[in-house]
């Protein structure tokens, strides 16, 4: 049950995009069409779901003072996390290129940019600062990815509809996207405190 709670918390209450506003760059750039948003979201679920548990293992079993190497190497934490993420994204890139070339070209530069997506590194850093166990960390990774997926598909759908709205010139595009994201963030606050 605890695992379900962590998953729900990570996807709704503590949505990476709408509660912590991480992952905004690719979120704003990719969200113009729902189809590409779905592709990017799926890639993020995969990357988060794998990198968070791997980084947990590295941080707790390798870098910590009572890990395999015996000394406290936690100052290497950031470098190792980002390297794991870079490697995983490289893998995802190769898989997408092979199985869906159209998605690959639609995502363009934003597929490798998942590496520097704050939400991905944020997932590992939050996992660290909250001291989860391995199982909890894995569920947290999947939940965060799922939350990102929900958020990016939702705003893509909204922005597609917005194209037909009459927005004042200085507010068009980026400005209104920010305001809407803020409103969605407010809406997601209603999930605070949900516990099963």
């Amino acid at each position: 049950m605890e695992y379900v709670n962590i998953f729900i918390k990570a996807s709704f209450v503590e949505n990476m995009v709408l509660s912590f506003f991480l992952g905004m760059c690719s979120y704003l750039a990719i969200s113009k069409k729902v189809k590409t948003a779905v592709g990017l979201g799926a890639a993020v679920v995969f990357v988060l779901g794998i990198t968070v548990p791997i980084n947990w293992l590295i941080s707790n079993k390798l870098l910590s003072a009572d890990g395999l190497l015996g000394t406290d190497l936690t100052f290497l934490r950031l470098i190792i996390y980002i390297s794991v993420i870079a490697a995983m994204v490289q893998l995802v890139e190769m898989v997408v290129e092979k199985f869906s070339p159209s998605l690959y070209s639609a995502l363009g530069i934003f597929l490798p940019l998942i590496t520097v997506n704050c939400a991905i590194l944020g997932g590992s850093l939050f996992m660290d600062s909250r001291g989860y166990r391995l199982g909890e960390a894995s569920v947290f990774g999947l939940g965060s990815g799922f939350g990102f997926f929900l958020a990016i598909v939702a705003i893509a759908a909204i922005r597609e509809k917005l194209r037909y709205a009459d927005i004042p010139a200085p507010l068009r595009g980026l400005g209104i996207a920010f305001i809407i994201t803020g409103l969605m963030g407010l809406a997601f606050m209603s999930f605070i405190g949900i516990k099963l």
Binding site: E14, F75, L76, S129, R130, G131, R133, I192, G193
Partner: protein, 238 residues
């Protein structure tokens, strides 16, 4: 040399790794004494805050002079060979209850009066919350409390730290045991205080943080009840 040859790439990567590792290790080892000292000082200041000592110029020496500490196990027995500084409350929190160790700090004032300071640790709304509660020598009346958090909402849950006069001071003078001698601790309640000895006002708009505080206070003191009982039988048998 061909920049894109395998040999060059691998050598480059290897050299970069070594240089980076050396630089980081150097910075880490030269700064780590300061980092640890900062952490230690912050803990000491939190402990002193729970007995009402704030804004001290030299918290470290006040701490040296007035605070002693012991560690007890889950049954209330004093453990030798381990100092309170070595016990990381956050880590103990994750262990099963029977394996947990609990540090206890004892403050001795200039007039010889003692306060027992108990660490608190629990879950807030977004992340962990923690603190220290100091208890008078009668092991029943609260002398003070200090609280901290990592990610509570400013203006709401974060008030446990930002507004001590409003949410810490009311604990002073409250009692842990009710008239029938049962341990009830002190809780934050909404909608008005009905039991003045055991209740304080909750933070409006921060229900979950307030619940978290109640839970951590109850459980945090509960760990020490067996030890406190043994202290009381000692003093009464004198």
């Amino acid at each position: 040399m061909d920049k894109n040859s395998n040999f060059y790439t691998i050598t480059y990567a290897a050299i970069l790794t070594v240089v980076v590792a050396v630089i980081l290790a150097f910075v880490n080892s030269s700064l780590s004494p300061r980092m640890e000292a900062n952490q230690k000082l912050a803990t000491q200041e939190d402990i002193l805050r729970s007995v009402g000592l704030t804004d001290l110029e030299d918290a470290a020496s006040v701490y040296e002079k007035t605070i002693s500490s012991i560690v007890i196990d889950s049954k209330g027995n004093v453990l030798d060979g381990i100092s309170a500084e070595e016990v990381v409350v956050a880590d103990e929190f994750k262990k099963p209850e029977s394996e947990q160790k609990h540090p206890l700090y004892i403050y001795t004032g200039e007039d010889g009066s003692k306060r027992y300071i108990v660490p608190l640790y629990g879950n807030g709304l977004w992340d962990k919350i923690w603190g220290y509660m100091s208890i008078q020598e009668d092991l029943n009346t609260i002398a003070g409390i200090s609280m901290d958090h990592r990610g509570e909402t400013p203006g709401l849950g974060a008030e446990i730290k930002d507004s001590p006069e409003q949410y810490n001071d009311p604990y002073i003078g409250k009692k842990l045991y009710n008239d029938s001698g049962e341990f009830v601790a002190v809780s934050m309640v909404k909608g008005g205080i009905k039991e003045p000895d055991h209740q304080v006002d909750a933070i409006s708009g921060a229900t979950i943080t307030s619940d978290g505080v109640n839970e951590m206070v109850y459980r945090g003191v509960d760990y020490y009840l067996e030890y406190f009982n043994s202290l009381q039988t000692q003093t009464s048998s004198k």
